[in-house]
């Protein structure tokens, strides 16, 4: 009997021992809250945002990502403080991917020096004015805290007076306004902020109410907003990674809007226009492929580009992508390029003129060798589906292909150039200027210059683009550069991911018309 009692106790220990390990952590999490009313914790009991008070106009939305900090300058956290409506940068991007005034009213270049003038009456949520000196300190802090902005430390940034800042660069720097529109360069009151991770003091239309690291976030109206009246009383961002719960939460009326809608959910929303408003515009995220010029001759590359049918691919991906012409949206001035239409007969003619003969198995061959290409891809952003569709389309004209899937493209096929056709997905237009993407793909030594593309005239134009200030001339240069690569069949630009937002009818102003991922609620966001 005694043994049985001991056995029972051991069994109880087995269960209690494991359950018990939670208690202290929960207590600790429960105790964690800041003096600035930012409730911080990670325990299950605190994993959900506080509900809105009765009668308040509070927007409820789902966020696919959640981050551990609200420090605007670190990592990509500024994207989220911008989405939450907490932080603002000196400029902001509009529907046409142009940097327009926000905290600054103007930025003028004179040689290597940019003069930035602040808007009148800009204040932080605590009422303190945004001064030129504070802007300088913010930019310097961003350079220290974020390695992607370390280049700012090469610039001489000075406050001329209370409203004017000069930024002197070692060389002419045409994209300054666009850089100053990136959300990581949002402004914080560095003197008043005591907890950068949980309660930054910023200039946005909302201030943090509760913040759960890597969890839900609640914001409330900034009563001191410098930009005028804020229509909402607050907003709740529920951290929801999965598509199905978002759809169910929308159906049950627990959320009012969200973006990055899946194709399955789109069907449901489109079927009920009386209740849901779906807004879909081509975004900045591009699916493209690199054709290896060191391995594939001109005719084969051209035949591939004439065969890959972007419209059919976009149709198959059911509304999640729009067919791309070039790397940038055709809504932009620098997205005006042309590509030949799909023509599989011409593709076959090209191959035959190049000496390929159709084999008995329906695959072209030359000198006894089958025409087979290696398609390298990674299974994210629908690239796996894309690889299969391209394989199928190529097989239809007699080009065989093998699929090679990699876990990490950057350290494998992008680094080694070991591919015939490499699929990739990245943001092509990060802040309304073409240089970033052109420089990383088409410039000599660029990050994605791994397919052997080399054109002296193109490089000359890229060098001109680096120093050209005039936006219209920049667009012309960009179009010419991209067209050279298209004509050389060095790349294939397949699709631009749509920026798709679903809103319950009556909800508006949730950045649904902006092609960028880093905008969300604003002073104009409203619920009727």
């Amino acid at each position: 009997m005694k043994k049985r009692v001991i056995a029972f106790l051991m069994s109880a220990m087995l269960i209690a021992g494991v359950t018990g390990c939670g208690a202290p952590a929960q207590a600790a999490a429960g105790a964690a809250s800041t003096e600035t009313a930012a409730a911080v914790g990670t325990g299950a009991a605190e994993a959900t945002a506080a509900p809105a008070a009765e009668g308040e106009k509070v927007l409820r939305t789902a966020a696919s990502f959640a981050y551990p900090s609200l420090d605007v300058h670190k990592e990509y956290y500024g994207w989220y403080t911008s989405i939450y409506g907490i932080s603002e940068a000196l400029f902001k991007m509009n529907e046409n991917s142009e940097a327009v005034p926000c905290l600054a009213k103007d930025a003028v270049a004179d040689g290597n020096t940019w003069t930035v003038t602040l808007n009148d009456g800009v204040t932080f949520s605590n009422g303190n004015p945004l001064t030129a000196d504070m802007v300088v300190r913010n930019l310097k802090r961003a350079a220290e805290e974020n390695s992607r902005f370390a280049y700012l430390s090469d610039f001489t940034i000075e406050a001329v007076d209370d409203k004017t800042i000069t930024i002197t660069t070692p060389e002419i720097y045409p994209t300054m306004k666009n850089d100053l529109a990136t959300p990581e360069l949002g402004m914080m009151d560095l003197d008043s902020t005591t907890d950068f991770d949980n309660a930054p003091v910023c200039t946005g239309p909302f201030v943090i109410d509760t913040f759960i690291p890597e969890g839900d976030v609640t914001v409330k109206k900034n009563d001191n907003y410098w930009g005028g009246d804020v229509k909402l009383d607050g907003a709740i961002f529920y951290y929801m990674q999965e598509d199905d719960p978002k759809l169910l939460a929308m159906q049950s009326g627990e959320i009012d809007c969200y973006n990055s809608v899946s194709s399955a959910a789109l069907e449901v929303y489109n079927a009920d226009p009386a209740q849901y408003n779906v807004v879909s515009i081509p975004g900045a995220r591009l699916q493209f492929y690199i054709l290896n010029e060191n391995r594939l001759d001109d005719a084969v590359r051209e035949a591939i580009n004439l065969t890959v049918d972007k419209d059919k691919i976009a149709e198959y991906l059911s509304g999640t992508v729009s067919p791309a012409v070039g790397p940038f949206s055709t809504n932009t001035a620098y997205g005006q390029v042309t590509v030949p239409p799909v023509d599989t007969d011409k593709a076959k003619e090209l191959l035959e003129a190049d000496g390929y003969k159709l084999g008995a198995d329906g695959i072209y061959e030359k000198d006894g060798e089958k025409l087979s290409i290696d398609i390298a891809y990674y299974a994210a952003r629908s690239l796996d589906t894309l690889a299969l569709l391209i394989q199928e389309q190529l097989a239809a004209i007699g080009v065989d292909s093998t699929l090679s899937v990699y876990e990490d493209p950057d350290s494998t096929y992008i680094a080694t150039g070991d591919f015939d056709l490499a699929l990739y997905c990245s943001i092509a237009d990060k802040s309304g200027d073409p240089l970033y993407f052109i420089d990383s793909t088409l410039s000599d030594g660029g990050y994605y210059d791994c397919g052997g593309f080399d054109d002296d005239h193109c490089q000359e134009l890229i060098d001109q683009l680096r120093y050209e200030i005039d936006p219209a001339k920049r667009a012309d240069l960009a179009n010419e550069i991209v067209q050279i690569a298209i004509d050389d069949n060095a790349y294939g630009y397949v699709g631009l991911f749509n920026h798709t937002t679903v809103l319950r009818n009556g909800v508006s102003g949730f950045a649904e018309n902006l092609p960028f991922d880093f905008y969300g609620v604003s002073a104009e966001t409203d619920i009727q």
Binding site: I15, V18, A45, R148, L248, Y406, D408, S426, I427
Partner: protein, 307 residues
């Protein structure tokens, strides 16, 4: 006795050392760069100089043995290091995740046992009769359904159709119910089948035949069967706890439950080596300790094992 315990502890340390070394080696050999993952998480391309500076900052350019040695020394000092993803202490991240997973796992385990034990007994006592067939069919279905499907179906019925629970659950007991049920349904099915087999085995034992011949009532026979099948149940629990602790990632993601499974999946995706290594150590320890406790329970419950 002290010698025995010391032996077990040394055994545990050796197992953890071997485990940690091989996991560290696998992570080292696996493709993917945490610095790159961190810098390009939003699809922004970075320059080679920026990448190299970040690799240097995270210590990724050091040789394998130096990195492993530094990590091991840190662990010995009680410092699991900082997450590569966000520079937060690994220990705090693991503690928070583990706490939530423990709550979910144990609630599911207790709930599953409460349901499956009587079902298994009923099924065994009514073998090949209608109740047994119904239970077998349901346990077959429950065992076959994938977790994500069960979760979404439960969410649809309970939250949309019946409107009993919110889709966006809070951290309350009500919020725990659906994830617990999702995790429990396959477990109840598995437990019921396993326990039923054990109980049928017990029913064929001589002591049961003897009791029946003596005219002992069925409920007393059932009590004896429950008692004698306890050892088997403990083994099942021991095996299941490990799976529950590490394997509820789908449920945690769908129901927004901030547990350790989800944390580790995110860490693997972002190549957050310090968190993965911390997880391996913690889970390794839990597995070994639970196995030892299971052995001990089994030893005490079953006299045949002692002899």
């Amino acid at each position: 006795m002290i010698k025995k315990i010391a032996g077990k502890i040394i055994g545990l340390i050796v197992i953890l050392l071997i485990l940690s070394f091989f996991v560290f080696l696998l992570l080292y050999l696996a493709p993917g760069d945490p610095a790159e993952k961190r810098l390009t998480s939003q699809g922004i391309v970075i320059t080679k100089e920026v990448l190299q500076a970040e690799q240097e900052r995270l210590g990724l350019l050091k040789p394998f043995f130096v990195r492993y040695g530094e990590w091991l020394l840190g662990v010995i000092r009680g410092d699991f290091g900082l997450s590569f993803k966000d520079d937060r202490p690994v220990a705090a991240k693991l503690a928070a995740g583990l706490q939530n997973t423990c709550i979910l796992a144990m609630a599911s385990l207790v709930f599953s046992l409460l349901i499956s034990y009587p079902l298994a007994l009923l099924s065994a006592m009514r073998k090949d009769r209608i109740a047994d067939h119904i239970i077998k069919v349901f346990s077959f279905i429950g065992n076959s359904l994938p977790n994500f499907l069960i979760s979404v179906l439960l969410m649809y019925f309970f939250c949309i159709k019946l409107n009993l629970f919110p889709v966006i659950a809070d951290g309350s007991l009500k919020g725990l119910f659906l994830p617990m049920l999702s995790l429990s349904i396959p477990m109840i099915s598995r437990f019921t089948r396993q326990m039923r087999s054990e109980m049928i085995l017990q029913l064929s034992e001589d002591y049961v035949t003897g009791m029946r011949l003596r005219g002992v009532k069925e409920r007393y026979i059932a009590v004896n069967i429950i008692r004698n099948s306890l050892g088997h149940v403990i083994t099942i629990i021991g095996l299941q706890i490990g799976t529950l602790m590490a394997g509820s990632v789908v449920i945690e993601t769908i129901f927004r439950w901030p547990g350790i499974g989800k944390l580790v999946m995110d860490s693997i995706t972002s190549r957050d080596y310090p968190v993965i290594m911390g997880f391996v150590l913690v889970m390794g320890t839990i597995y070994v300790v639970i196995n030892r406790l299971t052995d001990l329970c089994y030893h005490l419950l079953d006299p045949r094992v002692r002899t």
